[in-house]
Amino acid sequence: MTQRTTGGVTRRTIIKAAAATAAAQVAGPFVISARGDTPVRIGLDNPLTGTYAALGKNELIGCQLAIEQINAKGGILSRQVELLSEDSTSGDAGTAVQKARKLIDRDNVNFLVGNVNSALALAMADVAAEKKVLMVVPGGHTDAVTGTSCHYNVFRVCNTTQMEANAVAPTLIKNAGKKWYYITPDYAFGHTLQAGLEKACAANGGSKIGADLTPLGTTDYSSYLIKAQAANPDVIIFLPQGDDMINAMKQAVQFGLDKRFHLAGAQQELEALEGLPPEARVGTWVFEWYWNQPNNPHVATFVSAIQKKTGKVPTARTWFGYAATWTCALAANNAKSLDTLKMAKTLSGMKLPPEVSLMPDQAYYREGQNQLLGDLFVGQAQAKGSTAEDLFKVSTIVKGPDAAGTLAETGCKMQWPA
């Protein structure tokens, strides 16, 4: 009995509708009521509480929309699809792993989806590999997921940090200058992102003149900012995410640093910009997906569907969840099987159809790495654009393959089962 979504109805609504069933289920906490036709199950093990709760919830909404659409179009192998969502918490690997095992061992899910937190995604990937379940990572960025720790059955929707770095570096050098100071969150994501930027920056003729590692959950960035400005860089690169990004940017702008330096970074998200006061929405960034893509009817449909559900525009996270869930359905329907190996073979190299890809170029899973390569949106944060929710002005669209580097560079040595 997990929170389920079947055709957009959450489990709780079903319980309200069918009180008798509910009573039976409540009586024995784990007794799963029998169903005539077993649905295909997708298990989402993603944060709903803690630091990443907002991101996790947006991914969940994307998943839910995808499930509705998949079921409306005949489901997976003509069976209905059910989403089982578990709270992995934002950072407790013990819980995330426990929930992954629960979904696989007890609920017999056919697919495992998650996690926003790269570390948890890696831990879950170990479980998925051990249990031979197809896993899709919607939004955990660390390179290792589709790099050194890649698995034949683990696919990823969001970009690697290296791709984000490669996408933004040329624009930054051109617009802002060559001397960069990094404020980097002290965990795998931040490390690889900084390393990626250093590489890309050097390749474009720039250099690093200082860096500070800040722990996840830092509230006061003033000491780091004091150090950063003393180094007198051209650009202060902000790599923290979410609430940390908000704290850092808010304080930097209050210190007036935006008037003295170029503030920029790589990955930026709509969730974070929305949390910033207007005057702090500044800087050059990469969006992995953006809702305001004029002249793309598929995107417009998707945006209005999400707006109908939540009253807000979709973020990159919503799309991650959406694309990840559709990936599961496409894998099974194209392979005409729920066998993990067959589905993985089908997925590798597969292009997402335009109504799922939702960007100028069709995104595809690169063979030998299982990484989705799509477009990246480079541009500037803005206080307010065409609408109150238009907080980012896209200046350049970088094609995924151009940012991805070679397969050898990713460090992935894919092992397929015999």
């Binding site: 509480t49 000491s223 609430d243 908000i246 209050q254 640093l257 974070a272 910033l276 207007p278």
Partner: protein, 289 residues
């Protein structure tokens, strides 16, 4: 270099003042009622969110006045309904109770205001640095320090000059005697809890202007406050103030020279204090045992 150190010392004092404000609220409650209020971070977040919801209607300044009072009202109710029931029982129970409350606070705030950070605008007049050279002295930070100073002065005036305050202080020394003298200890503790949560609410409004406002905003601030109390000395409010300022400065300086020990340094300080002077810098003798 010297300038950098100076920057960091000032900056540490600013942050320390903030820790102190939060720790003073905790300390008030701990001293009179023997309750460690784990939910203090929750009250802080509540104050911040109330201010966020009110400020479009009554402005930042209105919110600054009203939100802490509203937080205190919630505090009075929580004390009246729940906390009161664990007075005089093993401290274990007050710890668990407030621990559970902290969970509930975080979840309810997320339920009402969402998991995503919300922007809390501060008056433009405060939002910029005084001079480019001393850029870290923003109007808001100085205002924060001034307000903390005012709150501290007000608190000490309340405790030393008003009837309520004198009773609170007397009760901290010897609750039984106060009881015998006909002071209603239940009401005293209730009001004292309200005063403590008022300070939490005030800290919340100030924090929201500087940090991203989301449901866990108080969580990372509660441990430094604990340490401030222990370093400063249990039972001593001036000690708590001193403790807050000290750990602020220590953390600030450590960030400069050895960033990865930023948090650890305050615990090292605490260890040293406990080793050399178990009752804390300004703590009263015999209070710890």
């Amino acid at each position: 270099m010297t300038q950098l150190i100076l920057f960091n010392v000032f900056n540490g004092l600013i942050i320390g003042a903030f820790y102190a404000l939060m720790a003073l609220g905790l300390s008030l409650i701990l001293n009179l009622s023997g309750v460690i209020n784990f939910a203090h971070g929750g009250f802080l977040a509540l104050g911040a969110y109330i201010a966020y919801s009110l400020s479009p209607h009554i402005g930042f300044w209105g919110a600054l006045v009203v939100a802490p009072v509203a937080t205190a009202v919630v505090g009075l109710v929580v004390e009246r309904v729940l906390i009161r029931r664990v007075y005089g029982r093993d401290p274990l129970y007050s710890l668990l109770l407030t621990f559970g409350l902290a969970y509930i606070f975080e979840d309810v705030l997320r339920y009402i205001w969402g998991a995503q950070s919300v922007p809390f605008p501060i008056p433009p007049a405060l939002a910029s640095p005084l001079s480019p050279e001393y850029f870290f002295l923003t109007g808001y930070r100085l205002f924060m320090v001034a307000l903390v100073a005012a709150a501290v002065v007000a608190l000490f005036v309340i405790l030393n000059r008003t009837k309520l305050g004198i009773r609170i202080r007397a009760g901290t020394q010897d609750l039984e005697t106060v009881n015998v003298l006909g002071v209603n200890v239940r009401i005293l503790r209730n009001l004292n809890f309200g005063l403590g949560t008022y300070l939490a609410g005030l800290a919340g409004v100030l924090a929201a202007g500087m940090l991203g406002l989301q449901p866990t905003i108080g969580t990372s601030l509660i441990m430094p406050s604990f340490v401030a109390i222990i370093v400063g000395g249990l039972g001593s409010l001036p000690g708590t103030l001193l403790g807050g300022l000290l750990i602020g400065v220590a953390s600030g300086l450590t960030t400069m020279f050895f960033p990865s020990a930023t948090e650890a340094v305050m615990y090292v300080m605490m260890g040293l204090v406990l080793l050399v002077r178990p009752r804390g810098l300004l703590g009263e003798e015999g209070r710890v045992q």
